[in-house]
């Protein structure tokens, strides 16, 4: 393998990419007409995405529905990759699969009816208006995409087949393809735009995040005053009493050596766990 001398092999922008020996001409994502493989992949992924979306709506079990939604998030990440926006794809996975999926699951654990016998489905009186609203929303979105008015001097984005070259402030480096730099360095472009052009929205986003956090905490704190058991999970035993399966930090000790149980539990199990032994 000769690694050093890659410089002599300059390849043209529309160079072919070998795919298991089949050398497809013009296999490029930005020209969809001339890239049959990409079209096939796009079609496959998108139809899988639609299936996942249907699964989200139709699954009766809440965790299953959330899982379908997570699969759909993953499909979105794949779409970002197909658009060569891999920074966005990684962000999609990090935020949606890594974080939003967790908050969904924990949200589900706050509900009583995970199996979803009553929450999903329902009478046709509810189903029909829901279907009408869904179809209307789809119609509005399609109309919005098709009827989009282009900016003066440019094509409407819905009609663009070939991605335009990004315009750099300093002019293009003649040695390097401008598009490749923009793609290879997407995080920098995002950062530059965010800190210069979109400075105010960026700070407002910070404010919004803080507001969301404070709002959620304020709501949850008022919840806390209800008669919740305060340790781990609670289990409703058929007799109606509440008992606590050995949850972490079952017993708290203070510096003065006194032991007291946190919360308002009726039954407290002392286990020989390391966290209950104190000097």
């Amino acid at each position: 393998m000769r690694v050093g001398d890659v410089a002599e092999h300059r390849r043209s922008r529309n160079g072919p990419i070998g795919f298991l020996g089949v050398r497809l001409k013009n296999l490029r994502i930005d020209s969809l007409e001339s890239a049959p493989l990409i079209r096939i992949v796009f079609g496959l992924i998108s139809s899988l995405g639609i299936l996942m979306a249907l699964g989200t709506v139709l699954a009766r079990n809440l965790v299953h529905a959330a899982l379908f939604l997570v699969a759909f998030f993953f499909i979105i990440a794949c779409q970002f990759v197909l658009l060569e926006a891999e920074f966005m794809a990684a962000m999609q996975v990090l935020v949606y699969i890594g974080a939003v999926a967790i908050i969904l699951m924990f949200g589900i654990m706050l509900t009583r009816n995970i199996q979803g016998d009553e929450t999903t489905g329902g009478h046709w009186v509810r189903k029909v208006p829901a279907a009408v609203v869904a179809v209307a929303l789809l119609a509005i979105l399609i109309a919005g995409i098709v009827e989009e008015k282009p900016v003066a001097g440019r094509d409407a984005w819905s009609s663009i087949q070939v991605r335009p070259e990004p315009i750099s402030k300093n002019g293009r480096d003649p040695g390097v393809d401008g598009r490749s730099i923009a793609i290879a360095d997407m995080s920098r472009s995002v950062g530059n735009e965010m800190l210069q052009r979109f400075m105010i929205p960026f700070e407002v986003a910070g404010l919004l995040l803080t507001a969301a956090l404070i709002g959620a905490i304020a709501l949850a704190q008022s919840d806390e005053k209800e008669d919740y058991p305060r340790l781990g999970a609670s289990v409703d035993v058929r007799g109606g009493t509440t008992l606590d399966p050995a949850a972490g930090g079952g017993v708290k000790t203070h510096n003065n050596g006194s032991i007291h149980a946190a919360g308002s539990l009726t039954v407290l199990k002392l286990s020989p766990a390391s966290d209950t032994t104190q000097p």
């Binding site: 920074f87 990684a90 999926a101 003065n256």
Partner: protein
């Protein structure tokens, strides 16, 4: 120089990416070279590297733990017990696969697969060695060099918390679910400082590519040799240990409280998959720590790039050395984790969460700002190994006191606001109260 590096990198990266025609040349049976290289990586990974690493990491951990406890460890199967992992694998495969009757069967199967996938995907971007050289820049011995490789790595490793939750939920066992809820709460809490600890590196390198980070360290010195870098390394290491659920952060599988936590209802090979995923993640977080802070495969004070020339022999030679150096660093990092496991007792769950949110998160946020100051002071100059005179010295002069103040501030605030000691302190402000603990 530093600034020039960070802005020049993407241009070079793009040039490199466009100059890959040689990868498209047919090599074997009409398959292009790129595909031959990738298939070689996959074959090496799946049939040699990954099972081997996991098997012998388990063996090493048992041996190390045994030595710490004044025992001998596995020594029956083969010389030094070296065949023990193979015996274990055979045992796991021939055991019955028991799925509880009330479990959610599909999700029960999906959970370990998701965990293992997340552990495997992280390893795609790690440069294990120097690779080739274009100009004065290394291409990195890595399957792929993504422009946002670090973000990719963190993103796919964050998928594991979902896998753990699903394992606990699908088992439909109270202990499993409790373990899973705890595990996820812990994982998400420690992921915040883990991610924040990597920000200084990106700040200095100006790129998310792990190969760019390797290049920067080969050029200017390892990142651990600066006060904010050292602090970030410590934070990352603590968060890494918590992310892979190892002692002192192994509450999700605290045997004395919740049987085995989220994998209580997994037996036989399905349990084996959890085992595999855990040790693979130990390996991948060790690789992450090594590549971010310990200079990857580079040696201090000796530039291995000079040995690289255009011929294949030098390529093989240099990469053998750099992979060796990289492995030594990873082994030391893993040993550190074994050591910590053998030494420290398990934390209490409230201490665990308080430590993440009240100490590590504030500290890592402050550390990012100190890293920015370091960038301002030392920018354009080497991040040297030792605080010599000049800008690096000035950087040390400014940042070391800041780091010390930050640590003391965070510890002090944590101390005065500590809830569990507040009543005791309020009732009687005894000076001895702090000594009892």
């Amino acid at each position: 120089m530093n600034l020039a590096f960070s802005t020049a990198w993407p241009v070079l990266w793009a040039q490199q990416a466009t100059q890959t025609a040689w990868l498209d040349e047919p090599m074997l049976l009409g398959i292009s070279r790129q595909w031959v290289i990738w298939i070689a990586w996959l074959a090496l990974g799946f049939f040699g590297l990954f099972p081997g690493i996991v098997a012998y990491m388990v063996w090493a951990e048992r041996k190390v733990a045994a030595r710490f406890q004044d025992r001998i460890g596995p020594n029956r199967v083969g010389p030094l017990g070296l065949l023990q992992p193979i015996a274990d694998a055979i045992k796991l495969i021939t055991k019955e696969n028991i799925v509880p009757g009330s479990a959610d069967k599909v999700v029960h199967l999906l959970a370990p697969v998701l965990l293992l996938v997340s552990a495997f995907l992280t390893l795609a971007v790690i440069p294990f060695g120097f690779g080739g050289k274009v100009g004065n820049r290394l291409t990195g011995l890595t399957p792929i060099d993504l422009p946002s490789g670090l973000l990719y790595l963190i993103a796919v490793s964050s998928m594991s918390s979902l896998g753990i939750f699903l394992a606990g939920w699908a088992s439909r066992n109270k202990y499993s679910l409790l373990g899973a809820m705890r595990a996820v709460a812990q994982l998400v809490s420690y992921e915040v400082p883990q991610v924040l600890a990597t920000v200084p590196i990106i700040l200095w390198t100006g790129s998310l590519s792990l190969v760019a980070i390797l290049n920067h360290q080969v050029e200017f010195g390892w990142f651990i040799f600066s006060p904010p870098g050292f602090m970030a390394f410590v934070l990352l290491t603590i968060a890494n240990i918590a992310e892979v659920n190892r002692t002192p952060f192994d509450l999700p599988e605290a045997e004395s409280e919740i049987i085995a936590g989220y994998h209580t209802e997994y037996s036989g090979m399905r349990f084996g998959l959890f085992f595999l995923a855990e040790y693979l993640s130990v390996f991948s977080v060790s690789c992450l720590g090594t590549i971010l802070f310990l200079g990857g495969g580079s040696l201090p004070l000796f530039d291995l790039r000079d040995l690289l020339s255009d011929n294949t022999t030098s390529f093989v030679f240099v990469n053998a050395i750099t992979v060796g150096v990289f492995s030594v660093k990873v082994i030391l990092y893993v040993f550190l984790m074994f050591w910590i496991r053998a030494t420290l007792p398990r934390m209490r769950v409230d201490q665990l969460m308080a430590f993440a949110w009240k100490m590590m998160v504030p500290l890592s946020i402050i550390n990012i700002l100190i890293a920015a100051i370091w960038q301002e002071v030392v920018v354009g100059h080497n991040l040297n190994y030792i605080p010599v005179f000049g800008d690096t010295f000035r950087g040390w002069l400014v940042t070391v006191p800041l780091e010390i103040v930050a640590v003391f501030l965070v510890f002090w605030i944590h101390r005065v606001t500590r809830e569990d000691s507040a009543p005791a302190l309020a009732s009687a402000r005894r000076p001895a109260a702090s000594l009892v603990r």
